[in-house]
């Protein structure tokens, strides 16, 4: 039913059951918010969104108040503005005020709010918070002093990821956000997905910096510095330079990386193809030999740690394949080192990922052989942009260049890894060929595409009907695992990504990533898939060459040594 309400003397219509905030945004109006999170139940905690409603004595929070027919609302009356201003002034009263040194200088919501509300003097000064920086995690740095207690990180961790590594601790003015028993994040259940960073309005959460070390290595003459970038990076970098979301920057990025001094530029989509060769073979092997089903992907290090902690009875279901990042790292320090005649210890291998958990994955002990780690440092998309600016490169003025051969050539199946459903689709394309010996007539698997948290499809491969499910956001994975435990048995293959929508919405992506941006990135990846000539991982000529010259065959001895790993139960504390 349509309701009519009056906002700032304009009549607008709204739907029954909508909140005032919904009604305003449907009509192109906004009020500032802090604790509000789209899609989650409102808490009304920060009170930034207060509006005046005629007949009500107190201001009401637009995010949680349902609209009523004939409601008269003022969104920017003097009283409302004064109230919002006071809230921000109070938040600033115990804030460290070190904006010039802050990671989020320029992308901080608190900064924006105080600018928008025209706060030009310190009216209220309070005691500054003194908290220790938590640098214990391999991926995420927490600075509780900058925290304004909006609670968005706590909610995303609990409601989207089902992890609850952090929580409000203490009471009143002494409240802050911390882990259980004030341990560092490294000892908590944190899976390093970085979604907390994506929702943090201030600089209280950020990724662990790897730029300084890389900078030093680039200046080291005897080191060969090699870089790889994940499939989603080229379609996510544009916003950092004011370009439209989803624009494919691949050529410009290759050029910029070479200007910075990287000796070789490789594409992780190549090793995504390699992952598919191994993973699809593993799936076929499991299906044909009565192996453990459903098989579950293990590309996402957030999901892997989550499974080790919370779903350890399912560890056998996880594919033994390393992630594309680690596969590329292993190939660089073996095959590439051999062919180029460089000692592996003189190679410094950097990867650029949309992900903070990759920083953790790179340091896992399973990923280090004889003291040599597959990958040496991991940059997020944000750090890459920062580095491009640091080196004074105007990326928009570059001439596009190609990545280096052979580890820079990919099929488009490897490219769509960047979006939720991509690994599944790429695996189906190759599994179809491995089982039937024929290519799929229609290469798209529409049922697994899109940004929903859960997608299910049935795919016919030869005479067999294969049940596949794609989930993103670990809460969705938890629900699915419970279904399987309760006896669901029509699923053969599951793809899990920790971040909603997959890597295009990863915890290392540009701050301010919204639904529109994620959608644009997804469409851009599928557009590349549409236009590319090679759409199947097994048809990538350089993958064939790699197997012919070096690896032998998928799941062979060498593959097992370099490309596969194992996972084990972790205690929760």
């Amino acid at each position: 039913m349509n309701l009519t309400i009056e906002v700032n003397n304009n009549i607008i219509t709204a739907n029954q059951g909508d909140t005032i905030l919904d009604a305003l945004s449907q009509n192109g109006m906004t009020v500032p918010t802090l604790c509000h999170m789209k899609g989650l139940f409102p808490t009304g905690a920060c009170r930034m969104c207060v509006v005046e409603v005629e007949g009500r004595r107190n201001l009401v929070t637009a995010c949680s108040e349902p609209v009523l027919d004939g409601m008269k609302i003022k969104t920017h009356s003097a009283r409302v503005i004064e109230s919002r201003k006071t809230i921000v002034e109070l938040l600033l009263s115990n804030h460290p005020d070190d904006c010039l040194y802050c990671e989020r200088n320029g992308s901080c919501e608190l900064q924006d709010l105080s600018e928008d509300l025209h706060i030009r003097e310190r009216r209220i000064s309070g005691q500054k918070n003194k908290y220790k920086l938590d640098v214990s995690s391999a991926s995420i740095v927490r600075d509780p002093a900058k925290c304004i207690l909006c609670g968005r990180c706590v909610r995303v961790c609990e409601e989207i990821e089902g992890v609850s590594a952090i929580e409000f601790v203490g009471r009143g003015s002494k409240t802050f956000i911390d882990t259980s028993f004030n341990h560092g994040l490294n000892l908590s259940t944190c899976v390093n997905c970085g979604q907390c960073i994506m929702v943090c309005p201030t600089g209280a959460l950020k990724e662990k910096d790897h730029i300084s070390e890389i900078k030093d290595m680039l200046a080291e003459p005897e080191k060969t510095v090699v870089v790889q970038y994940a499939p989603s990076i080229s379609v996510s970098l544009a916003e950092e330079f004011g370009l439209p979301s989803g624009q494919n920057m691949i050529g410009l990025m290759n050029a910029a990386l070479r200007r910075m001094g990287f000796n070789y530029v490789f594409d992780t989509s190549f090793s995504a193809d390699l992952t598919i060769m191994e993973e699809a073979s593993e799936l076929v092997h499991r299906v044909q030999n009565g192996g453990k089903l459903p098989m579950i992907t293990s590309c996402c290090p957030g999901w892997v740690k989550y499974a080790e902690e919370f779903q350890h009875d399912m560890i056998e279901n996880l594919s033994s394949c390393k992630s594309p990042q680690q596969m590329m790292g292993a190939i660089i320090k073996s095959y590439f080192a051999e062919t180029e005649n460089i000692a592996p210890e003189n190679i410094y291998s950097v990867s650029i990922m949309p992900c903070t958990a990759k920083k953790f994955e790179q340091q896992r002990e399973e990923m280090i052989q004889n003291g040599i780690s597959d990958v040496d440092a991991v940059l997020t998309t944000r750090e890459l942009a920062r580095m491009i600016r640091l080196y004074g490169i105007d990326i928009t003025k570059m001439e596009p260049e190609l990545a280096d051969s052979p580890l820079g050539t990919r099929s488009s199946a490897g490219k769509i890894f960047g979006t939720s459903g991509g690994v599944m689709e790429a695996a189906i394309r190759s599994a179809h060929y491995f089982i039937t010996g024929k290519e799929m007539v229609k290469f798209q698997v529409k049922g697994v595409r899109g940004l929903e948290g859960r997608k299910e499809a049935k795919v016919n491969i030869g005479e067999m009907e294969v049940g596949v499910v794609v989930v993103s956001g670990l809460k969705n994975a938890e629900i699915l695992m419970e279904e399987i435990r309760n006896g669901r048995n029509d699923i053969h293959f599951i793809e899990v990504m920790a971040c909603p929508g997959g890597c295009i919405n990863g915890g290392g992506q540009p701050i301010g990533t919204d639904d529109e941006a994620i959608k644009a990135r997804m469409l851009s990846l599928y557009d590349i898939d549409e236009k590319d000539a090679i759409k199947m991982s097994h048809k990538n000529p350089y993958i064939k060459e790699l197997y012919d010259k070096f690896l032998g065959k998928p799941l062979g001895h060498k593959s097992h040594e370099l490309l596969h790993t194992h996972y084990q139960k972790r205690d929760i504390n």
Binding site: E158, E167, S180, I572
Partner: protein, 157 residues
């Protein structure tokens, strides 16, 4: 199974099929038996109630009644009620923290003393007052702290 684990398990067995509404009674029961909430006990409660440990820690730190360190042989309670405050209990507390080299809520390394702040002991006439294992020390000042604790330490030798 360790002694503590046995106690924890015995307590949890008394709450079969409990939901999150039983959290606080269980924590109170734990503290009553253990003297404090150990990390181990919180993790076991979290498994029992299928609730994240961080959530339980969050709830427990909200309430003043829960402690997370094993109490010392002598449990020191410093009254921070109104009357004691007016007569300088804040400086008394500072002095005790300095003397014992611990903060409120902690236990000394030798496990002899633990320190807690309480709202009002109900002995306002004796303000500022501290209680050590139920023994009241009236009208304490910064100068008397050293002697009081010296006395307890001497009892141990």
């Amino acid at each position: 199974m360790s002694y503590m684990k046995t106690i924890v398990q015995e307590i949890l067995d008394q709450y079969p099929n409990a939901g999150r509404d039983s959290l606080i009674p269980i924590l109170q029961h734990m503290q009553e038996k253990l003297g404090f909430l150990s990390e181990e006990s919180v993790i076991e409660v979290s498994k029992h109630l299928k609730m994240p440990a961080s959530k339980i820690f969050g709830v427990a730190t909200f309430y003043n009644q829960f402690r997370f360190n094993q109490p010392g042989k002598y449990h020191v309670q410093v009254c921070r009620g109104t009357a004691c405050h007016v007569l300088g209990s804040a400086t008394v507390l500072d002095e005790i923290e300095k003397n014992l080299k611990i903060k409120t809520g902690q236990t000394t390394k030798d496990k002899l003393f633990s320190l807690e702040v309480v709202a009002c002991i109900g002995a306002c006439g004796l303000a500022p007052v501290i209680s050590i294992n139920g023994e009241f020390h009236a009208k304490v000042g910064t100068e008397s702290i050293k002697g009081i604790f010296e006395d307890y330490r001497n009892r141990e030798e």
